[in-house]
């Protein structure tokens, strides 16, 4: 995937990509020659462009039109050409103040963050709340807080805490709850929370659970306690992609919206991003989102005080303002991490 290019070719490619990002229209040789005070004639640029086309970095929609960057070109641009803009003072202010104004709740902050991302980037903001199903189980405790109401407190090895209210069919004695807790705590050491749940589900089918009434009910409750919540995911600014001229046609737009409706797909995509640190960029088909849609994704992780990790980012057209969005995503992830750690 490494591409060797002369300095001049790189400059020209950069010019084309940036021009195209700005205008969404095929860019011609003379435009490049003019704009980029390159002291080169359009003819020369044309030669270089023909070269770039052979390398698979440019295509032309038809013979007598300018050239358009391919995904490969964006990749190359992002990897080695793009000059990242600084996050402006004003943008920083917005990011911080929006986060703070949202109040205490995690959901509130994340939703507001999503909206801020959307506003600053002019694309779609997306935030996935941290979930700790991959963390290692440390401790569980059941507290009776009313008739047929139990609070389960689940602690991961990283210190993350998750509370969940469970309504039960029968009433439980304090004693039973303690026993349930002890049983689980002893049995589930060292497993991830996902594994814990699997084990519980297995146990429920086991012979033992069939004739031990109490155990059976205990497992049922425990299962609820560790059941993964539908990943909370905040998407804001969906309307903004309609601003992009390449999506002004109804067919493509529909494709995109349908892709987003299945948030499951998004989550899957985004869980990939969780693994690596720093800003991650997925261009076009790399997103494995609705193949032909020309969507790109810029994401970064953030962490909470309890070491659970979430994801935030921006979804936009492949033709996206990488130079400004990348720093924004980066900065926002840092700020959200900091804000959530203070807490």
């Amino acid at each position: 995937m490494d591409i060797e290019l002369s300095n001049r070719s790189r400059q020209i490619l950069e010019a084309i990509v940036e021009d195209y990002i700005a205008t969404a229209e095929p860019v011609g040789s003379s435009a490049v020659a003019r704009r980029h005070a390159l002291t080169l004639s359009s003819a020369t640029v044309r030669n270089v462009m023909a070269n770039l086309e052979e390398l698979g970095l440019l295509t032309s929609p038809h013979t007598s039109a300018g050239r358009i960057p391919t995904e490969k070109a964006y990749r190359f641009y992002v990897d080695s050409l793009v000059a990242l803009r600084q996050v402006s003072r004003d943008e920083k202010r917005q990011i911080v103040s929006h986060c703070r104004q949202a109040g205490v709740g995690l959901s509130g902050i994340l939703k507001e963050t999503s909206r801020t991302l959307s506003q600053l980037s002019n694309y779609m903001g997306i935030v996935v709340a941290p979930s700790f199903t991959a963390d290692v189980f440390r401790h569980i405790e059941f507290i009776r807080i009313g008739q047929r109401k139990i609070l389960a407190i689940l602690v991961s090895s990283k210190g993350a805490v998750q509370n969940r209210l469970i309504e039960t069919e029968d009433d439980y004695a304090l004693e039973d709850l303690v026993r349930m807790g002890n049983y689980l705590n002893a049995r589930m050491q060292g497993l991830t929370i996902t594994q814990v749940r699997e084990l519980i589900l297995e146990d429920m089918k086991s012979e033992k659970a069939q004739y031990d009434e109490l155990l059976s009910r205990a497992l049922k409750i425990s299962e609820q306690a560790v059941r993964p919540e539908g990943d909370e995911i905040f998407v804001e600014g969906q309307a903004r992609i309609l601003d992009q001229p390449e999506f002004s046609d109804a067919g493509r737009m529909k494709e995109i919206y349908q892709a987003f409706e299945q948030k499951g797909l998004l989550v899957q995509l985004l869980s990939r991003c969780m693994k690596a640190d720093g800003v991650q960029i997925y261009i076009g088909s790399e997103t494995s989102l609705s193949q032909s849609a020309g969507i790109s994704l810029i994401t970064s992780r953030f962490v909470t005080s309890s070491n659970t990790v979430g994801m935030l980012g921006v979804i936009g057209p492949t033709r996206m303002g990488y130079s400004s969005v990348i720093p924004i995503v980066d900065y926002t992830a840092r700020m959200v991490s900091r804000l959530l750690s203070e807490n």
Copy 2:
């Protein structure tokens, strides 16, 4: 708003509305004459149509095109013409089974309901979770469940219960929590939960709270306990409105999506619907949603076991299949009410 029409005019209007709903294209006099085995010639129909146009029930996009129903016509159609379809056995099955499969959580059920509405209607499904801020306060209780973690249990006069976990800055003794509870329970009797919150906010500014450290902190926690959650609202099937030919143009679509982005607007609109019983229908500008967008709304209330009331419905183009969607919304509201009451 009462319109007197001869029987024949009504039949013709009905035919036009239904034809237009089916085809999304201006319907001409001959089409009406043919389709609706009316033993009338197109010329006669034309006379009637001219009449209906004078009454403001029809318009023509241009001289030599068919006629299109106005909002007024839809209103009239819905009020006195439409023949409601029965909800089919299959649809009933879908509604019930979808609700059940969603599991226990209220959110889960409502989200699934929204999706079902969208699927059955082929428009956009929308569900607003019940909130009980308008209910009368009955009882509050604080339970310490860990270091700096308090569970607030709020009960309304209708018996609805809301639990909320609150993380505090300082640790509280059991005793203090009981005292806080007693104070609030005594002081807030008979107020709605919204009013309770207002009163608390007022108290926080009062002189007394300034020098009574404990009171001040107590108020702070109480305020969190009664703070209204952002109304949970589930919108599914947004992509479906892209299927409607009248929204295939990018400009209008953008308008709609932007309107929906401010969910606040939706909530406001929907809270109106909460007040009345039965199926409510808002046509076009009656929705006070993005004026020119030609959106209609069919909603109905549902109630939970604790007597809180939520709202569900369908959003679609003014040119919507009222005859089938109205019964679906009605039936779904009934089923959801029943399901949530069993619980």
